[in-house]
Symmetry: D2
Subunit: 278 residues, 4 copies
Amino acid sequence: MNSSYIIKVDCPDEKGLVYKVSEVLYKNGVNIITNREFVDLENRRFFFRAEVNGEVQVEEIKNELQEKLGNDANIYMSKREKKNIVILCTKEAHALGDILIKHYSGELNANILAVVSNYEILKPLVEKFDIPYHFISHEGLSRVSHEEQILKVLKSYEVDYIVLAKYMRILTPEFVKNYTNHIINIHHSFLPAFIGANPYKQAYNRGVKIIGATAHIVNDNLDEGPIISQDIIRVDHTYSWKDMQCAGRNIEKSVLSNALTLAFDDKIFINGNKTIIF
Amino acid sequence: MNSSYIIKVDCPDEKGLVYKVSEVLYKNGVNIITNREFVDLENRRFFFRAEVNGEVQVEEIKNELQEKLGNDANIYMSKREKKNIVILCTKEAHALGDILIKHYSGELNANILAVVSNYEILKPLVEKFDIPYHFISHEGLSRVSHEEQILKVLKSYEVDYIVLAKYMRILTPEFVKNYTNHIINIHHSFLPAFIGANPYKQAYNRGVKIIGATAHIVNDNLDEGPIISQDIIRVDHTYSWKDMQCAGRNIEKSVLSNALTLAFDDKIFINGNKTIIF
Amino acid sequence: MNSSYIIKVDCPDEKGLVYKVSEVLYKNGVNIITNREFVDLENRRFFFRAEVNGEVQVEEIKNELQEKLGNDANIYMSKREKKNIVILCTKEAHALGDILIKHYSGELNANILAVVSNYEILKPLVEKFDIPYHFISHEGLSRVSHEEQILKVLKSYEVDYIVLAKYMRILTPEFVKNYTNHIINIHHSFLPAFIGANPYKQAYNRGVKIIGATAHIVNDNLDEGPIISQDIIRVDHTYSWKDMQCAGRNIEKSVLSNALTLAFDDKIFINGNKTIIF
Amino acid sequence: MNSSYIIKVDCPDEKGLVYKVSEVLYKNGVNIITNREFVDLENRRFFFRAEVNGEVQVEEIKNELQEKLGNDANIYMSKREKKNIVILCTKEAHALGDILIKHYSGELNANILAVVSNYEILKPLVEKFDIPYHFISHEGLSRVSHEEQILKVLKSYEVDYIVLAKYMRILTPEFVKNYTNHIINIHHSFLPAFIGANPYKQAYNRGVKIIGATAHIVNDNLDEGPIISQDIIRVDHTYSWKDMQCAGRNIEKSVLSNALTLAFDDKIFINGNKTIIF
């Protein structure tokens, strides 16, 4: 059975790692189509990603690699296939809508299992596409109780990634640790500029000539997770902050879309508070 | 009645035109919020656009301006309101879908009256949004007959703009003259590079490092109408032409979206084969 | 005598200002080539810039405008000609060198009267171009004494703009008030991200995917003056902070160059802590 | 002796090439810092580049690799050091000046051995930097005779790359074959748009909203060599073609600068009419 797989390895750096990894692959009949390797010299860590094909014994290869590279190595090997995702959103349609259209036309490398929101407003849009919509209001609930209700829904799905498509609530570390490094957020500013509330108003008040958007992995510190992708557009003095918000939506959705493509193609490594993207 | 209007004037250049135009506006109680003026020195033509408010007598002002500026002057004055559009498309969902989502969430400064296509494939998508979908197959029809059928549908609507959202057929000059300067197309290349069929394949074969998209007014010459908006993204040797096509869709839709915003806000002048955009 | 002039007006907004200004110009035989107008609705202030030609009586026109628009109006009218500048720098050659080359080949709309630096290192470069180089070491001097020495040199020239081409010292408000709104700085980050020391190291540590540069008017608050121009380049995990610094130099110089073009063409208005750029 | 080297390999694709190459490196005590690999599946060719260090026996490693990979393999291995270049130019100072400044401040990974020009105009600029300037007028000479005179000068230097910094004459295939794949040109348009004379005038006449520049390897067909780097800037209706030319110079020099960095760091492979850039 000749299939396509992704292999990702990261481990403490030492001499000969490319040789060791490629030897295991070669001797198991695996053909490398493309690979990239990077050593973080500051932290002495080795990162390797390959797209391969062949008649592949996944478990055997993983075991051999683990044995050769030691217990500090992370070994990931997976067939190239669609990821399963759940989307969280609040009130804005643009980022969610962009993902729905891509999903509909087969351009998204993922299955949308469900959408969860603390408002009902986007329900009609989501249900047009026959995707389950879970409305879980935060009203009258503590943050913890609200998150517990969301988690209960999420846990009913087998999820590869949680996508925050303009989900406007802060997630607690307790929530995040259920999906460590597997929650992707789109932030409506060029981080680290304009952390916090209403970045477009902040940008307007500062009189910037460029605004941006940032897709990042969510970790314990709000707006401070590893950055996956960023992009910008030019603005000028004729833009009110509402105009900036409106213009910004176009890059919010394209930056998120770009980050999702990278994530769903297994192209992202987490390296401390940064990403390595091959 | 205090409302918002757009005034656009273009006429042969002469001394004192800003004065003459602003005098008419001032004496009719109109307040200019913002204006831009440009003289094409090569062709000696004056272009003026203003956003105004006040208790406005549209017909009186237009008549006074016409009288002052002469018969060669084009005078346009309109309340700021949503334009009425019909979208033509073929098989691809991305540009159409982007407009549908914007329309749905109230971000599009236009009403979509209908979608017309030579294929049925996008019908379920369009009908999710309760917009009429006219399927008019070109099979077995001459180009002229096919266009006649489309025109019959279009004429049943009162249309400000026809939007070609990846409509993959060439329009005859006879068709175009029904909507002179009011048909907007998105071309999937950075014009004038890669005119003609499959620009992404052409771009791949040439080994370019940047691909682009171009929104333009449709005139009699394919791919040669006045350009409204262009944008680009970077590609590299790892992109197949299919990858370029896929990446290109993101800018196709954002460039078209940008061009539509400019058109629906009456910010575009046609100046020979070029646009002036205020 | 038929010449080219720039007219800039800003004043409290009221009805009919375009009419009033253009009437004065028209009745004085001035022809508007291009103009832009903008009303800051938040602060009720009117901004107008025109490029004109004709047989122009500068003082008469300025007086008439001042009379019509009142004492709160700023009226600027100047022949289009090269500005006179002095450049301050420290140790890095790239931004300074870029200006020197442009000056040498006649592309800079300014005369460089002199270069002032707190180091001697760039003296040989500047003197190649027969431009006076004033070395004023800060060593052993208080900030105030150092600035007094610099001011003494600057005051010996008739200066339109002071250009900080990577001058790595903070200027006191006392110094700045000698050239209010006429000192232009290039900051090596995408402000307001990474204010303060070594922004490239900060950017590296944060793991951003885009770095930028910002040209701004210097006011009393470090890194917080009105922004004129910004631009960005993409970076990735393979960049050390030294690599970012090196790549960043290309945009530092192009952003500064762009800002200088805007300033020397009288295209910038200061509006509180922001710029309006026509 | 522990030094830094670059290794580049390209050869017909087959299974296990990463393994084979990395085995040779490992067994010769070479440590891979970073590597990239790419297989052109269309043409079945393998490309590999690594930055390595260690006590390296260059000739032994090259021989072993050649033996293992066969005669169709290109093996390149070189110490990381400055390249030697000669610059050809005509009349414009911006691209040349940018390289001179970078060279002066130690930012260019190359030694400029000489500048050759068919005009005298840039001689004073070049000689400021104590670099030999060879003025070889084309007047009264056939293209072939002119090129012979240039070649005579070039052959007196040991050159890694010829850089055409706005050298405005077409080179014959006979000339080019002396430096196959080692002549880098900056073209003042976003190729393949606006091939031929005065691309800025062409761009102006077409009314484009974006102009660009392209750095490419020179081959036998004018403007059709493998593209290394491209970039763009936005323009609008207010730009005359002279304005476009002026604005374009900023990206001409930055695109050329970027391409030179890639070339001097041995990051470019030629793959038919394209480049692979690691």
